[in-house]
Amino acid sequence: MEREPVDSSNIATIGYDVDSETLEIEFIRGGVYQYFDVPAQIYEDLLSADSAGQYLNAHVKGVYRYSKI
């Protein structure tokens, strides 16, 4: 999956696969996670959020299931 770099103190890159609705996040610390069944809107909001880390915590964590890669 292609991931785009983002400007954040926490997140390094973000990628999204439209067909499977999979959101992939790579953190600066090194961990990569895939979140499943995430609507495209969330991905777009995440990209445009002032703070990606904050947005992630508020709208993705604890909402969508994930797997560490």
Binding site: M1, D17, S20, T22, I28, R29, Q34, G53, R65, S67
Partner: protein, 626 residues
């Protein structure tokens, strides 16, 4: 030296290396200043000096107070608490170099002095020789570096012990960082057996990581860990593939077959150094275990048409599928052939079992499963080391060893977190034996062990060097610690449960890094293994601070209580402990789980079962990088 500032008291009783001293009235203030620096008198574990002529004897304070009074004097001592017990450890000429061992004893009335930082430096401080590495500094004396002799550290073996959370992994990472410094040791050679994948992150700059089911997309650039089955000796191979045999005869038959396969392979592809005469069943010659399995499977489970001419083996009664095709299976994929049931009724074509007396049906079914299951691929389908049906391989063992001990990076981390638990112990044993054999036989060569010694770091050693297991790993490590010194293979045993480690192994370790150890049985185990009479020091083990270690043994001049210099934050090992509640603010944390974050709306337990059934932590839903 009539230095009254440092004067503590006088020797009153000498009993072997144990010396009792009575403190002088002047020194009882408890706090003295020497060269403007304050020292507390009578700290357990601190050093004292007894000047005798031109020499100084040095000792460690092991006991202070009333109980330190010699037994016979208890009655007559009015102020019984002004006593100390000292363990003598070594001597040195005045202003000279300290040495372990004593050539003379103190006598009654000799003065006892406190050791100031300046003198300590003399004892500990080594000239800046490149074979000493600095791991930190002496606790309570920041200016004195804690130096460890690399020569002794590697060849005389070492052990790092400490309770979980005492800073064990950080200590190991710190040592590894120092030893892999390319400027100092441009060709250091270290292999780490990492059971939990802790060190990849910490040592990524100077290491290659080999892992089963490696993640190519990972930042750490993991490579695939492969251990070709044909490099194992017969015992290891059996343990990993067939399991226990029912009787000696079955084992011998299989052994003979393996030997034959290796012989055939060798004839077809001659390999330097191996000859048909000297070939043994343990020789590392590639052969096709898949073919062997298939052949044995037919012999054990096969049926044949009794009525036809020729040998039974030529008339096998394969079952057919709906298209009439014979179900012959596929040896390379571990798919067994399916045979017709036996028929003994009159008038019909009779089908009998193949004659034979092997009773290894269970073993073959087990091996068949292993040949099919992907998690055993690292051993049975080792990519470029996978023999074809004739026993030819794309790459020989030289490439494997070059990857492990001859790459451009000093450290090779073998991440065994993906090895199935039932064969973990044998896998580690086999792996270490491969390395040992290779370096042992190559001892005259520049790539061999004698000329470029190897340090093997064994993490979580209590799991596979357990005293109860008479296993492969324990056997080979015993050999390494006993003989490895001569052939340039050093062991570093790391464990939080030293009492569970085979005592032979532990007793051969020349240097100990003892971090905080709270468990009494572990502590007594360490105390009894350490050669020095240093009860006073080992009694400090439960109260050491995190990241503090007592280093004792051959690699250090004197036992030293050391504050280990932790590597920079991004070079610290990942303890990989599950997080209950994140200590990092949630917005800044990468961790999406724990008890502090609410459960997702639609948890999926089907995926949970999927991982279990597939025996693979990765679900099929994950988008793989292409």
């Amino acid at each position: 030296m009539s230095n009254t500032e440092t004067y503590l008291g006088d020797v009153q009783d000498v009993n072997g290396t144990t010396v009792s001293i009575s403190l002088s009235k002047e020194s009882l203030t408890g706090f003295v200043y020497i060269d403007g620096q304050g020292y507390r008198v009578g700290q357990i574990g601190s050093f004292i000096r007894i000047p005798i002529g031109f020499n100084d004897l040095f000792g460690i304070i092991s006991q202070v107070g009333a109980s330190a009074v010699p037994e016979k004097q208890v009655e007559s001592q009015r102020h019984g608490n002004k006593w100390m017990t000292i363990q003598l450890i070594g001597e040195g000429p005045r202003n000279g170099i300290f040495q372990r061992g004593l050539s003379q004893y103190p006598t009654i009335g000799d003065e006892v002095h406190l050791v100031s930082e300046k003198e300590l430096k003399n004892i500990y401080g080594q000239p800046d020789k490149p074979y000493f590495v600095k791991l930190g500094h002496i606790s309570n004396a920041d200016s004195i570096p804690a130096l460890v002799d690399v020569n002794k550290l590697v060849t005389r073996h070492s052990a790092v012990v400490g309770t979980t959370g005492s800073g064990k992994s950080t200590t190991v990472a710190s040592i590894m960082n120092k030893l892999s410094d390319p400027k100092r040791y441009p060709s250091s050679r270290i292999i780490m057996i990492d059971l939990h994948g802790e060190y990849g992150q910490a040592l990524q700059e100077n290491s290659n990581i080999y892992k089963i089911n490696s993640d190519i997309s990972s930042k750490l650039k993991e490579k695939e860990l492969l251990i070709p089955f044909w490099a194992l000796n017969f015992d290891e191979l059996c343990e990993i593939s067939f399991g226990e045999f029912n009787n000696e005869k079955d084992k011998n038959v299989v052994m003979e077959r393996v030997q034959n396969y290796k012989l055939k392979s060798l004839k077809k592809n001659p390999r330097k150094g191996a000859s048909a005469d000297a070939l043994s069943v343990d020789s590392p010659i590639p052969f096709s275990i898949h073919q062997l399995w298939y052949e044995l499977f037919i012999e054990v489970f096969g049926t044949y048409y009794k009525g036809k001419d020729g040998r039974p083996i030529d008339n096998l009664a394969y079952e057919t599928d709906s298209n009439g095709k014979e179900l012959k299976g596929n040896p390379m994929e571990g798919i067994p052939p399916i045979f017709k049931n036996i028929v003994t009724e009159k008038g019909e074509d009779k089908i009998f079992y193949l004659p034979g007396s092997l009773s290894i049906g269970k073993q073959l079914l087990l091996l068949g499963t292993k040949l099919r299951i992907p998690r055993y691929n690292f051993i049975f389908k080792p990519n470029q080391w996978m023999p074809d049906t004739e026993g030819d391989v794309a790459q020989d063992l030289d490439c494997l060893l070059k990857d492990w001990v001859g790459s451009n990076k000093p450290i090779t981390i073998l991440d065994l977190s993906g090895v199935p638990a039932d064969i973990l112990q044998t896998t580690i044993g086999a792996l270490l034996r491969l390395l040992y054999e290779a370096l042992f036989w190559a001892r005259q060569l520049s790539q061999g062990g004698r000329h470029r010694p190897l340090l093997v770091v064994m993490e979580e050693a209590h799991i596979y060097l357990n005293d109860n297991l008479k296993g492969m790993a324990s056997k080979i490590v015993q050999r390494i610690v006993k003989e490895g010194r001569k052939y340039g293979i050093g062991a570093m045993i790391v464990s939080q449960r030293p009492s569970e480690i085979n005592p032979t192994i532990l007793s051969q370790c020349g240097t100990f890094f003892a971090l905080r150890l709270t468990n009494a049985s572990d502590r007594s185990h360490i105390t009894s293994t350490i050669s020095d009479n240093l009860d006073g020091l080992t009694s400090m083990l439960p109260i050491l601070r995190t990241g503090e270690a007592i280093i004792l043994g051959e690699a250090v001049k004197l036992p030293m209580r050391t504050t280990i210099e932790a590597p920079p934050k991004n070079k610290r090992p990942d303890s990989q402990d599950p997080i209950i509640y994140d200590e990092v603010p949630l917005d800044d944390s990468e961790n999406p789980g724990g008890w502090g974050i609410k459960m997702e709306v639609k948890p999926n337990y089907e995926e949970l079962i999927e991982t279990w059934r597939a025996q693979n932590p990765k679900i099929s839903r994950i988008m793989e990088d292409k």
